[in-house]
């Protein structure tokens, strides 16, 4: 639960992670629930990509990162997808 200290809601973070390829986009339709550890893992990947400490928590640096203007193309961190079907590196996205 959001205790009010965080400037970004968990929903915002969740949507951000889906939008930029840190969580499967299919979650947008399925509303799939992720375990705490899966979410932390996705946040860590975002933090590593953004060159901030990989705490797995929505800390201040992460909030700042999420608010930074950016390109709309996803970061395509394949390993962020938890479905085993997705570990096919031979497949390339043609475009976004």
């Amino acid at each position: 639960a959001n205790n009010g200290k965080s400037a970004v809601s968990e929903d915002t973070v969740y949507n951000y992670l889906m939008e930029f390829d840190y969580l499967p986009k299919s979650d947008i339709e399925t509303g799939a629930l992720r375990t705490e550890e899966q979410l932390k893992d996705a946040i860590r990947k975002l933090q590593r990509f953004g060159n901030i400490p990989a705490t797995g928590e929505i800390d201040e640096a992460t909030q700042k990162l999420i608010h930074r203007p950016r390109c709309g193309v996803g970061d395509n961190t394949r390993t962020a997808n938890f479905s085993p079907d997705n570990l096919q590196y031979g497949h390339h996205r043609m475009k976004r």
């Binding site: 986009k25 339709e29 203007p69 950016r70 043609m94 976004r96």
Partner: protein
């Protein structure tokens, strides 16, 4: 750095600015020219501005939902996006018109440096993905650095791996004794002052971008055909259901065919589904049946021969699927029919409204079980619904816009889940495989249905796209 997807198969690329505001046009074109010259400086690439909707890289400004499935979000956050090399939208770069841009060097304040963003987006247009190197141009987050003609090492290595550097011949198949290709002259890099700017007719009034100009399977919501009336006045139905709920025996046989049988290797599909582990494809009053040993001989045949209790004069099956109780559900016009094998279940047909669908809905385009979650979806025009099989009604959060199924577009013909668990969408003579995790088509260009599903041979002069 990350090389993403394909690269261009040529090094002389064309670009075109699609829309602009009159006062900014010269600055924008200058900035775009400069942005491209950054990539040209470190590679064999050359760029030429053209005034054509056939340019490799089309640049445009758009706001909000602009028809490509990737909405802009107003000022801040997402600034722009671009498409990786390819046909159609491939290579195109879109900038959020709601951003406060500045187009000249040295300008600061609360506005965003267009040149820096443009260099980044063109990186995508050329085949580069995002890099986690925060000094790289391809770092996804905006940094307000002055743009240097010399790329950071990460980006330079990436672009040279794709297109070679200016001072080297490239390509593994050139013999070492062969003389070097003369370096490309910079005079071909841009043509910004060669010709006066001519406005496209469609942009004289700064009209919105219309992707239909180039792509047959577009989904521009501003331009699409509105086949699904949403505001028309509902007239109470006075006709009776097209087929009474009674059992026919013997089944009525159509006496004279209204149309010739469709050509197996050259037809569109109205509906397709796996029924009892076999593929059934419907077109007009006919169907094909494909089992373990391929297409059954004698097909296409009349759909009535198998499901005699379908209405006598139906022109086509709109959609069909096998539900979790293994009942076969046909959608024809404003009604749906549930069959237990080939017997119409008592109480059917029922109107679409009994599923919770709106009165205004005239038909269903496709009904399919999505392999990702095994839930049932219905589509019509620009909208789709999720069906709760337990309540027999569509769920409350629906309808939603079809654009979430990225790359599919609107007004599809059919969809189904194949035995491999993947979902396929059909439109015209083509189909797309869907990537469930990325929520987008696995291949942006549709493939020919006849080749895959009917196993039709390739024509002599037909390009084999998969081999290519």
């Amino acid at each position: 750095y990350v090389l993403q997807g394909p690269k261009w198969d040529k090094t002389d690329l064309t670009w075109s600015l699609v829309n602009w505001t009159m006062e900014d046009a010269p600055q924008i074109r200058r900035a775009l020219t400069e942005a491209l010259s950054v990539w040209a400086h470190s590679s064999k690439l050359t760029f030429r501005e053209v005034r054509s909707d056939q340019a490799d890289i089309q640049v445009l400004f758009a706001r909000g939902d602009h028809g490509d499935g990737y909405k802009f979000d107003g000022p801040g956050m997402v600034l722009a996006h671009a498409f990786y090399p390819g046909v159609g939208r491939g290579g195109d770069a879109h900038f959020d018109a709601d951003e406060k841009w500045h187009f000249t060097r040295g300008e600061r304040g609360d506005s965003t440096n267009f040149l820096g963003v443009a260099v980044h987006e063109f990186g995508h247009s050329l085949g580069l993905g995002h890099s986690s190197d925060q000094n790289a141009i391809m770092y996804p987050w905006y940094h307000d650095n002055e743009v240097d003609i010399n790329l950071p090492a990460d980006d330079r290595n990436a672009i040279q791996q794709l297109y070679g550097s200016k001072d080297k011949t490239w390509g593994p198949f050139k013999p070492p004794t062969r003389p070097k290709t003369p370096p490309t002259t910079t005079t071909t890099t841009t043509t910004t002052t060669r010709r006066p700017l001519v406005y496209y007719p469609q942009n004289r009034h700064n009209e919105p971008y219309d992707p239909r100009r180039r792509y047959p399977y577009n989904n521009n919501p501003h331009q699409r055909d509105r086949k699904l009336p949403t505001t028309t006045t509902y007239r109470p139905r006075t006709d009776s259901p097209p087929h009474p709920t009674r059992t026919w025996y013997p089944p009525p046989q159509p006496t004279k065919p209204k149309k010739l049988k469709p050509d197996t290797c050259h037809t569109t599909y109205d509906a397709i589904s796996i029924i009892r582990r076999e593929i059934f494809i419907f077109r007009g009053q006919f169907l094909w049946r494909i089992g373990d040993h391929g297409l059954y001989p004698g097909y296409p045949t009349y759909t009535h021969r198998l499901w005699a209790e379908l209405p006598k004069n139906f022109s086509k099956v709109d959609a069909v699927y096998e539900n979790k109780d293994r009942k076969i559900v046909f959608f024809i016009g404003r009604y749906y029919y549930v069959f237990d094998s080939v017997t119409l279940v008592s109480g059917y047909p029922q109107p679409l409204t009994s599923l919770g669908l709106p009165q205004s809905l005239t038909h269903i385009d496709a009904a399919f079980v999505w392999g990702y979650n095994n839930r049932t979806y219905l589509t019509s025009g620009t909208l789709y619904w999720r069906l709760d099989e337990d309540t027999g009604r569509v769920e409350l959060d629906y309808p939603r816009d079809m654009s979430i199924w990225r790359g599919i577009g609107y007004n599809i013909d059919a969809a189904f889940k194949y035995t491999n668990g993947k979902t396929y969408f059909f439109k015209g003579y083509g189909y797309w495989e869907f990537n469930d995790d990325l929520m987008e088509v696995a291949h942006p260009r549709p493939k020919l249905s006849a080749r895959k599903w009917m196993h039709c041979p390739r024509l002599v002069n037909e390009v084999d796209e998969e081999q290519t």
